[in-house]
C-alpha cells in the first residue's frame, strides 16, 4: 500500500495524535478512516458533518427509549388492538422525553438542529419546518393513525420546551401546530 504525506494544521494534527495515543490506534489509521468516511459521505450526496449530526440524533433517540420498528409491523399491531386516547398520551410523553433529551444535548435552541432531529425520529422521510410560532410536518407516507401519533409526539416535545400549543391541524400525512412561548 503506497503512502503519501499530507499537511494539516498543527493543532488539529496534535489532537489527532493525542486521540491515537488514548485509543491505542495509529494516526495513519485514524486519518485514513476520516478521509474514507468523507469520500463515502460525498458519494451518497451528504456532508460528513451532517452524517455525524444524524448519528448523534439517532443516539439521542435510542437513549430516550425509542426503538426502530418495521413499518408493516406497527400497522398490524395498531389494527389488532383497540386504540384508546391513552396510546396518544404515550406518544405525547415520548415527545416530552425526547424534548428533554434535546435540551440536555443543547440542541433545543437551534431551529435547524431540532428540525434535523425530528426528521430523524419521525417516520416516512418527513419534511419538517420549524418557524416562529409554527411547526409543519408533511409526510405523505404516514397513515392517519401514525400522523395522529406523530402530532401527539410533537405536542409533547413543544410542551417540554416550555411552548404552549395554541392550535393543531392534523390530516393524513400533514400536521400543522401553532404555539407560543409560555407567558406570552
Amino acid at each position: 500500500m503506497k503512502r503519501k504525506f499530507l499537511a494539516a494544521k498543527e493543532n488539529v494534527a496534535d489532537r489527532v495524535n493525542e486521540i491515537a495515543k488514548e485509543s491505542g490506534r495509529t494516526v495513519f489509521s485514524i486519518v485514513n478512516e476520516a478521509l474514507g468516511a468523507f469520500i463515502t459521505a460525498k458519494e451518497s450526496g451528504r456532508t460528513l458533518s451532517s452524517i455525524i449530526e444524524e448519528g448523534k440524533n439517532a443516539q439521542i433517540a435510542r437513549n430516550a427509549g425509542m426503538i426502530l420498528v418495521p413499518e408493516g409491523s406497527y400497522d398490524s399491531l395498531l389494527e389488532s388492538c383497540a386504540i384508546t386516547p391513552r396510546i396518544y398520551d404515550g406518544w405525547k410523553m415520548a415527545g416530552t422525553v425526547f424534548g428533554k433529551y434535546l435540551y440536555v444535548n443543547e440542541i433545543h435552541e437551534d431551529t435547524k438542529g431540532v428540525e434535523t432531529a425530528l426528521k430523524e425520529v419521525i417516520g416516512g422521510n418527513p419534511d419538517v419546518t420549524l418557524s416562529k410560532g409554527k411547526v409543519v410536518c408533511i409526510s405523505p407516507r404516514l397513515g392517519v393513525k401514525q400522523t395522529e401519533a406523530v402530532a401527539a409526539f410533537l405536542e409533547g416535545l413543544l410542551q417540554s420546551l416550555n411552548l404552549t400549543v395554541t392550535a393543531k391541524e392534523v390530516s393524513k400525512g400533514i400536521i400543522i401546530i401553532t404555539f407560543k412561548q409560555e407567558g406570552e
Binding site: 499530507l6 488539529v12 494516526v27 476520516a34 474514507g36 468523507f38 452524517i51 455525524i52 420498528v69
Partner: protein, 191 residues
C-alpha cells in the same frame, strides 16, 4: 498579513489522497482546507465517543432501514401495543410478512444480502442486546439473539420477523427456540 498557520505532516494512503484531491479540485478548495475540515469533523465525532468510521457505517445502515420504511417509536409504547393486541397467529403472520418484504428489499438492494444482514440486525434492532448470524455447513444458518430486557411476546414477534427475512433470502426455519430473553433460530437453505 494574516498569522502564519503552523502545519504538520501526516501519512495517508495514496489512493485515498488521490480521491480527496479530485474532490478538492471539483469543489474549488485547497487540499489543506478540505483535510482540516475532515479532521476537525473526526475530532467532533470523537467528542461523542465514536469514531468517524463507526458513524459513517451507522449512517449507511440506518439509511437502508429508513429507506425500507422503518421508523423510530417509543419502545414502551410498542410494548403496550403488543400487550393490548390480540396476540395470535394472525399477528405473528403479519410480522412474518413484514420480515419477508424486508428480506426482498435487501435482495433487491444488495448482491449478497446474507453478508450484510448481521451488521444491519445488530445496528438497527435496538431492542436486542446481541445478534449473531452464523452460517455452517450443509446450508444451515443460525440466528442467535440475546435480549434479556424485552418480553416474551415481543421476542417471539421478532423471531417471526426474522423467519420472514430469512425466507425471502432462501432459507426455511427448521427450529425456533425462544425462551426468556434468548432466541435460537435455525434455518436450512431451500433447495
Amino acid at each position: 498579513m494574516p498569522d502564519k498557520v503552523e502545519k504538520k505532516l501526516v501519512v495517508v494512503r495514496s489512493d485515498i489522497l488521490e480521491r480527496i484531491q479530485e474532490i478538492a479540485r471539483k469543489e474549488n478548495k485547497t487540499l489543506f482546507a478540505i483535510v482540516n475540515e475532515i479532521l476537525q469533523d473526526a475530532l467532533t465525532a470523537n467528542e461523542s465517543r465514536a469514531t468517524i468510521g463507526d458513524l459513517a457505517r451507522f449512517y449507511q445502515l440506518m439509511k437502508v432501514e429508513k429507506d425500507s420504511g422503518a421508523f423510530i417509536m417509543p419502545a414502551d409504547l410498542l410494548l403496550k401495543l403488543i400487550r393490548r393486541s390480540h396476540y395470535n397467529e394472525e399477528l405473528k403472520s403479519e410480522w412474518f410478512l413484514a420480515g419477508e418484504w424486508y428480506g426482498k428489499y435487501l435482495t433487491a438492494k444488495f448482491e449478497r444480502p446474507l453478508e450484510v444482514l448481521p451488521s444491519l440486525l445488530s445496528t438497527c434492532l435496538w431492542h436486542l442486546s446481541e445478534v449473531k448470524v452464523e452460517t455452517r455447513t450443509e446450508g444451515k444458518t443460525f440466528v442467535n439473539i440475546i435480549a434479556p430486557n424485552i418480553d416474551q411476546q415481543f421476542l417471539e414477534l421478532t423471531g417471526k420477523y426474522l423467519e420472514g427475512v430469512m425466507n425471502a433470502l432462501g432459507y426455511r426455519a427448521v427450529k425456533s427456540d425462544i425462551v426468556r430473553g434468548v432466541a435460537i433460530l435455525e434455518f436450512l437453505k431451500k433447495l
